[in-house]
Structure formats: structure tokens, C-alpha cells
């Protein structure tokens, strides 16, 4: 088991103050997200991107469905609050796609409202069957985010990757993007993902990985370690299905051993404790949930034996 870093007195006081304020301000919570949430223990845990060594916090922020609120100002403000809370908790990577409706514009709205936080690590995708249309779509996405350039650009669902990757590599060479990758979800097209990982000099791969969807443990994650490719994990809660599944079960005793106060934290810690994983990207439209999620990147992480117990507990729930 990985050990905690020592708490500084200042951080402890800050944590206690934050926990006290949170207990007053936090809205009603579900069973899965109990009132007694874990305090931040020690510094935020990070993992280096294999290709450069740049460190990223273990929990990012997804935007699929949750940030697609259209022109609803109330909805956009709520998303901006989520983004603000994400940064305040120490998060950096925000993920989106042209496929996610208005999510890109809503992220741009939130970033602008927050004064373009410097901590941002922007992860965007290209999603079109036409290679020629790719650059125009990327530029449109950049304009919607309101950023000078993206940190990471990925080929969404490996769609037309043979056409898009040369464009993305050329952009990387020209300094217009820092990292390049490919994505898939829900276990689809793993053979093709593997082919790309073996043949292309990509920095990241994004796949579905959680306590129940563990197919990537067999080939993709070991290959990522071997090829020094960072892994981003989508669908950490299977769109809430996993949280519903475990919500009625009491939080097992082992949760305290890895500094988890809730099931969602445990579910996230299961994912990010795999050595190939750089970060998980849970999506939410609630401030209390984003805080809870990011706090999974603090404290101790499970070792392999504990991970097996965790997966078994979720399977049994």
C-alpha cells in the first residue's frame, strides 16, 4: 500500500476549515455520496505523462452529457461552478469532444468566467470521418474553448485515424498542440486501438476502464506501459450505473485503509491505482460530486491485493 505523505500543519488546518465550511454549505447528498466525505490528506497525487514526464493529477473532469446544457445561462453558470470547484480541488485535465453538443462552448464559458485558469490541461478530440475537415473542426473547437492551443488532441473513437493522425503529428511538430492520442469507449475497437498503439508515436490513449469493465487490463494497459503511452479512463462510473449498483451496500472497512469516505471515491481509486493510468475523467454537473471525485486523488492508493478485493466487492454488490 502506498503511504501518505506527511500532513503539514498549515494544510491540516486548511483541510479542517474546508471540511467545516463544507458541512454547512453542502446540499443534500445521496447514499453513495455521504455527508462524511474524506478530507484532503497530503498533496494531490499525480502521475507523469510517459512521453515527457509532465505530471498530471489523477482525476480529471469529463463533459459528456453533463456540460451539454445548450444556451441555458443557469445551466452554464452551474457548469462554471463545477469547473471552478474542480480547479480549487487541484484538478487540471478537462476533456471534451465535438460530439458532446454544446459542452465545448459551456467549457469555454466557464473558463472565461474563471479568468482562464493557468492550471488547465485541455484535452479535446477530432471527430469527423473526413481527414480534410479535421483542421477546420479543431480550429472551431479551439475557438469554442477560448484557448490559445489544446494540450492534447485525440482522434475520437479512432475514426479515420489514418487521416487525422498525420495532421495531429504535424500540429505537434509546429507547437500547435502538445500531445496526441486516440480514444475509444465501452470496449469497442480494441484491436484497432492496439494497432495504433503499436504503430504510431502517440502520447495518450483513452479507453473505458472501471471496476467492472476491466478488459483493457489484458492487453491495452500492459501495452501502454510497454510503449510509454499515458492512459486516460472514461466512464469511471458507467454513467452512474456503478454508483447505483453499490449505493445500497455499506462502504467496506477497507475503504478507510485507502482514505476513501464514499463509494465513488473508491471506484475512482480503483481506476487510478493501475500504474498505466494517468487519470480518470468522471463527469458531473454537481459541485459536491466534483469535489468528491477529485478527492480520490488524495491519500493512499490500493495495492494489487486491495484492487482485487475492490473489484470483487463491486461485482458482488
Amino acid at each position: 500500500m502506498r503511504q501518505n505523505e506527511t500532513l503539514s500543519r498549515r494544510r491540516l488546518l486548511k483541510t479542517l476549515a474546508a471540511a467545516g465550511a463544507a458541512s454547512v454549505l453542502r446540499p443534500a447528498r445521496s447514499l453513495a455520496y455521504p455527508e462524511n466525505t474524506a478530507a484532503r490528506t497530503g498533496p494531490i497525487l499525480t502521475r507523469p505523462i510517459p512521453s515527457t514526464g509532465e505530471k498530471l493529477p489523477l482525476v480529471g473532469l469529463g463533459s459528456w452529457i453533463t456540460f451539454n446544457v445548450g444556451n441555458d445561462v443557469e445551466g452554464r453558470d452551474a457548469c462554471a461552478e463545477v469547473i471552478g470547484a474542480f480547479f480549487r480541488e487541484g484538478g487540471r485535465l478537462i476533456d471534451s469532444s465535438p460530439m458532446y453538443g454544446s459542452s465545448q462552448e459551456v467549457i469555454g464559458y466557464g473558463l472565461h468566467k474563471l479568468g482562464s485558469p493557468r492550471e488547465l490541461f485541455s484535452a479535446e478530440k477530432v471527430w469527423t470521418s473526413s481527414g480534410a475537415r479535421g483542421p477546420q473542426q479543431i480550429e472551431e473547437s479551439r475557438r469554442r474553448w477560448g484557448v490559445a492551443r489544446f494540450d492534447l488532441l485525440e482522434v475520437h473513437n479512432v475514426m479515420s485515424w489514418e487521416e487525422h493522425l498525420p495532421t495531429l503529428f504535424a500540429m505537434k511538430a509546429a507547437g500547435k498542440v502538445r500531445y496526441v492520442g486516440v480514444t475509444t469507449s465501452e470496449g469497442r475497437r480494441h484491436d484497432e486501438i492496439e494497432k495504433v498503439m503499436r504503430s504510431q508515436p502517440i502520447d495518450f490513449v483513452q479507453v473505458t476502464y472501471n471496476a467492472l469493465d476491466r478488459e483493457v487490463e489484458e492487453r491495452i494497459l500492459p501495452l501502454a506501459l510497454e510503449r510509454k503511452i499515458g492512459v486516460i479512463c472514461n466512464r469511471p462510473f458507467r454513467r452512474g450505473e456503478l454508483i447505483q449498483r453499490v449505493a445500497r451496500a455499506p462502504l467496506p472497512g477497507w475503504a478507510a485503509e485507502i482514505d476513501c469516505a464514499s463509494w465513488p471515491q473508491a471506484l475512482v481509486k480503483f481506476i487510478v491505482s493501475h500504474p498505466a493510468v494517468i487519470c480518470a475523467i468522471p463527469a458531473t454537473s454537481r459541485v459536491d460530486h466534483v469535489r468528491e471525485n477529485v478527492r480520490a486523488s488524495y491519500g493512499r492508493l490500493p495495492d494489487e491485493a486491495m484492487r482485487r478485493r475492490m473489484a470483487a466487492a463491486v461485482e458482488k454488490a
Partner: protein
């Protein structure tokens, strides 16, 4: 689409139920008191259908065309498209339906059954349901009154009322007018099912009822 068998209905849902119903809430707020005009329009159509004259048929065709055109532009293209890129295609389909009603009204081949038989009563009941009862389904299921879906302004009750009208209609190309509303009822049923809405069955059931009733007796042209 590769590995199509791995996709579920929810894989195609781009937004949350909260965002979807909030869309209607904001739409209703923006067009108030248009809802009252739409309700009056629905009752006028109901009254015209009960008369069943040739002139009434043209008026009904024109008014229904107006409802489809408005819903296509004001709802699908202007609002739904902000959270669902497919809504642009829905807007075009609604425009096509409006054009078909105008064409049918202008060519003069459209008449409606006079009230009396089971089919005509069922058709009128569908129209009345869409105008007066369907908007209540959301509030009755615990959703806000502000997000009520109103005939002539929102796609679901507009499609159900149109299918009710088509149950009464007698025209050679009546089937042509059923295509878009029937497809819409299936699309909205699938969307609501993916959102686990308890009223997901309403529009598909109305479409099945309408198509089934239309099989009872072949359409007669003039």
C-alpha cells in the same frame, strides 16, 4: 457504425433529462402567452374537424402546417439543436411535413370523416388528448408546469394530434402525411426511454394506434 451491436439506446443520448425539460421550460417562458393562442388553435381545429366540411379541411390543413412549421423552426432549429445536432434534421423533416399539409390543402383532395363511427371518434379523441391532456402528463409525473409540452408548439403533442387528424382524413395521399409524425413518435419514444421517462410509451402508442386504425378501412380518394 462498427460493432453496432454494442450500442445501447442510452449511447445516443447526448443530454440529461434535466437539460431536456429545462429546454421546454425556457422555451415556454420565451413564447408566453403563445401557449394560450396554441391552445385556442387546437380547440379551433377540434371544432373544424367536428364540422367536417370541405372548407374546414383546408383550414385544418393550413393550421396544422403552421404548427409543424413553427415547431420545426422555433423548437427544433432554434432550441433543441443547441443540445442535439440531429435536431437540425428534425427541423427539416418538420418543414417537409408542413409543406405536405399545404400541398394537400391546396390540391383540395382532403376531407374528414363526420363524427359518428368508431374511427372518427377515436381520431377526435386523439386530437383532444394531444391538445388538452398530453400537456398535463409532465406535471402529473412530477415535472414542472413550466416545462409543459403544448400542442402546436412542442413536437410530441403536435405529432399525436396530427396522427389523430389523419385517422379522420380521407385522401389519396394520406399515408404520405403519416410518415413524419410516425417517425417522430418513434424517435421521441426512444429518447424518453433512454431518459427512463415514465411517459416514453405515449407517442409510440399513439402512432401505433393511428396506423392500426388506418388499416381498419382503406383511405378513399375523391
Amino acid at each position: 457504425m462498427s460493432e453496432w451491436w454494442t450500442y445501447r439506446l442510452s449511447s445516443f443520448l447526448l443530454f440529461s433529462p434535466r437539460t431536456y425539460y429545462r429546454l421546454f421550460e425556457l422555451y415556454n417562458a420565451a413564447i408566453w402567452p403563445g401557449q394560450l393562442a396554441a391552445l385556442a388553435l387546437g380547440l379551433v381545429i377540434f371544432a373544424l374537424l367536428r364540422r367536417g366540411s370541405g372548407k374546414a379541411s383546408r383550414a385544418v390543413a393550413g393550421l396544422i402546417a403552421l404548427c409543424w412549421l413553427w415547431t420545426g423552426i422555433a423548437f427544433h432549429a432554434s432550441r433543441y439543436a443547441t443540445i442535439n445536432f440531429a435536431a437540425v434534421y428534425f427541423a427539416w423533416a418538420f418543414g417537409l411535413e408542413a409543406a405536405l399539409w399545404i400541398w394537400m390543402g391546396l390540391r383540395g383532395g382532403l376531407t374528414f370523416d363526420r363524427p359518428g363511427g368508431f374511427r372518427s371518434r377515436a381520431g377526435l379523441a386523439m386530437v383532444l388528448f394531444a391538445v388538452a391532456l398530453q400537456p398535463l402528463s409532465g406535471p402529473l409525473l412530477g415535472r414542472s408546469w413550466k416545462s409543459a409540452e403544448i400542442f402546436g408548439l412542442a413536437p410530441d403533442p403536435t405529432a399525436v394530434a396530427t396522427l389523430g387528424i389523419l385517422v379522420l382524413a380521407r385522401a389519396r395521399h394520406r399515408w404520405l402525411l403519416m410518415v413524419v409524425p410516425t417517425i417522430w413518435c418513434l424517435v421521441t419514444g426512444a429518447t424518453l426511454l433512454a431518459m427512463k421517462a415514465p411517459d416514453a410509451f405515449v407517442a409510440p402508442l399513439a402512432a401505433a394506434f393511428s396506423v392500426g386504425l388506418s388499416f381498419r378501412r382503406p383511405a378513399e380518394g375523391r
